[in-house]
Symmetry: C2
Subunit: 100 residues, 2 copies
Amino acid sequence: MILEVAILDVKNGLEINFEKDFTLASQYISAAIGYKGHSLQKCMERSSRYILLVNWQNLDSHEVGFRKSIEYEKWKALLHKYYDPFPTVEHYETVFENNI
Amino acid sequence: MILEVAILDVKNGLEINFEKDFTLASQYISAAIGYKGHSLQKCMERSSRYILLVNWQNLDSHEVGFRKSIEYEKWKALLHKYYDPFPTVEHYETVFENNI
């Protein structure tokens, strides 16, 4: 399992629309093979900043399976217009974990 | 519940030492009141980058409870020497979540 991480800076004033469209778009990412859950979280220090966290089976589930799908085109059409700057996406693997 | 997020850039060549000291230091953060779990994850695109994710009961659990504790001094003594640049820490609240 890997974690996709993207810090999303949304254009000022569009936060509520973005959150609504994110909820709609979630159906497209959730349908991908190898998708293992995701969350959108809002920054407490900067009101137009969010973090997207997505669990994937492996890197290809995201970069090939999802990004080359029709669902990704629908995700993009709903969400990409909100970002400024366009976000950098990174992937992470667990080194240490303690869940209580 | 809130999520603390810090992107950690570790000095080149010190990654293995950092990971060992992080495991040691984890006992100090885990002892804090309001601590709800944490993970350290390593970036697949940049080998000296990590992300620290910590779940806290609320902002004060982190900023007052932990940061003003003796345990935080021990955490700092083990870990702060590894970072370049010194990381920015942000806190996030869930907007949307789908765990499968």
